[in-house]
């Protein structure tokens, strides 16, 4: 009876989201063993492949210690934060009419309004892009566009990015092999200028209630050098 009353009261407090949102809320870690890897061969359109080859001929070879924006503390653009397989946590927070995702990596933050498009007045493309969410039953569907191109196509083999790129995510709950609850995200990358077909992969995340999303001080290395003259781990910063 008590449980029934509490369940009846809950929607009054959180009307915008279904009950499954209470399962999704909290801190999660990537479950890399049970998540899809990036495709080894991207279905590049011929024009995109030619443009990439031309770029490599002109500016290559790529030196990832220099040319990788991550090494210079530039936040990774969508969808890399959601498909990260390293053990960095993220937190999902549900508030009225909105979902907010806090990533430890780069301190990135995604704001996902439910059902209402954000005002795009003077909005520039960004690493996290512009997202809008909707509930399809117990699945949270998030569409993201206006993704910043710089740093989005990493030189380590990921494809170039056009302004037409869209990401569709389908967040849902499941269980892992041991019966523990598991967060799933089916990610579809659509980029008609670059890709000849959408690319889909599924990520799985481990429920991690004892972990907090910490501070990610990418620039600490440069700051320490300034204060203490300590050598950098990045070759060209030495």
């Amino acid at each position: 009876m008590l449980l029934l009353v509490m369940l009846a009261a809950a929607p009054l407090l959180r009307a915008a989201h279904p009950a499954v949102s209470r399962e999704m809320a909290g801190v999660w870690l990537p479950d890399s063993k049970h998540s899809d890897r990036m495709p080894s061969q991207w279905p590049l359109r011929p024009e995109a492949a030619a443009a990439r080859d031309k770029w490599l001929a002109e500016y290559g070879p790529v030196d990832t210690t220099v040319d990788d924006t991550n090494a210079s503390c530039i936040a990774e653009a969508m969808p890399w934060p959601v498909r990260l397989i390293a053990q960095y946590p993220f937190e999902v927070l549900f508030t009225a009419d909105r979902v907010t995702i806090f990533y430890e990596v780069f301190g990135s933050l995604r704001r996902i309004p439910i059902g209402t498009a954000r005002n795009t007045f003077e909005m520039l493309p960004s690493a996290m892009g512009r997202s809008i969410g909707r509930w399809e039953g117990d699945t949270l569907v998030v569409e993201t566009d206006m993704i910043r191109r710089e740093g989005a196509g990493k030189p380590a083999g990921n494809p170039p990015v056009s302004n037409a790129r869209r990401i569709i995510e389908r967040w849902s709950m499941g269980k892992d092999d041991t019966g523990r609850k598991q967060l799933r995200n089916q990610i579809t990358i659509i980029d008609p200028v670059v890709l000849s077909a959408p690319v889909t992969m599924t990520m799985r995340y481990k429920w991690s209630p004892d972990i907090a999303v910490g501070e990610y001080l990418c620039q600490q290395d440069i700051w320490d050098q300034n204060l203490q003259g300590s050598p950098s781990t990045v070759p060209w910063r030495k």
Binding site: A8, R118, Q219
Partner: protein, 248 residues
């Protein structure tokens, strides 16, 4: 039968009490969520002269902005500087058990102060490292959110003049809503900074924000400047080496 009725009655009473309690909690905690813009003219300036200890005065005098300003190196503002300074918006996210204060200065992507409600601060532990945003605990007392923050990174400074603090800094805040005839809804933060190693007496400051539902927080990319600098430096070295090799 009489016994069963009594049990049923007790269950219903308890259930109703819980429901009323949930509703009361939701009703009594004011809604401070949303985006807010700082109002400098309503906020208190740093007192003159500052009540500094001898060692703090020496640190203050030795401040070198080229060397000691963390933001020049894309480090965070840190707490309490993120709350006390700047013109960028503040976003408040609020649930029944936590309040998050999100600042997005042009430094890191976001500085999120996480305030967990009715959860005591951890006991002092020398093994716990201080953080730039600190460890916070809060509770609603009537219409005011009381927040206490400790374990603050002493590498952070308090303002652009280079006022520093020690690892013993303890920040107490009282967040509440006010209404201004001209500006409308205000979010007011009455702050007390306790740091016996820095201040000879607790320092009281006031920070005021105005309701700004159309304000948007944007991604900061401070590191781009560093990246471009480094890329170009590296590329110039490469070109210089190529020219030298060609000359030989």
């Amino acid at each position: 039968m009489r016994c069963a009725c009594w049990r049923l009655g007790r269950l219903i009473f308890t259930s109703v009490a819980v429901l009323v309690s949930i509703a009361a909690t939701a009703a009594t905690a004011p809604d401070i969520s949303g985006t807010w813009l700082p109002v400098q003219s309503l906020s208190s300036p740093w007192p003159e002269p500052l009540p500094l200890t001898q060692s703090a005065r020496q640190r203050y005098a030795a401040f070198d902005p080229d060397r000691d300003e963390p933001t020049s190196f894309c480090m965070p503002l840190g707490t309490p500087r993120n709350t006390l300074s700047g013109t960028s918006p503040l976003e408040v996210l609020q649930t029944s058990d936590r309040v998050y204060f999100v600042f997005q200065p042009n430094l890191l992507n976001a500085e999120t102060r996480r305030v967990y409600l009715d959860k005591p601060l951890p006991a002092a532990d020398a093994d716990r490292l201080p953080t730039w945003l600190g460890t916070s605990s809060g509770r609603w007392r009537a219409q005011t959110l009381e927040v206490e923050t400790v374990e603050l990174e002493p590498q952070a400074i308090l303002n652009a003049s280079g006022l520093s603090h020690s690892g013993a800094l303890r920040m107490q805040e009282r967040w509440h809503l006010e209404r201004d005839a001209e500006r409308g809804r205000l979010l007011v933060d009455d702050i007390v900074l306790n740091d016996p190693q820095t201040f000879t007496a607790p320092l009281r400051l006031k920070r005021v924000f105005v309701w700004a539902p159309d304000a948007r927080l944007a991604e900061g990319q401070c590191s781009e400047r560093l990246w471009i600098d480094q890329i170009w430096r590296h590329r110039l070295r490469e070109h210089a080496a190529a020219r030298k090799a060609g000359a030989r």
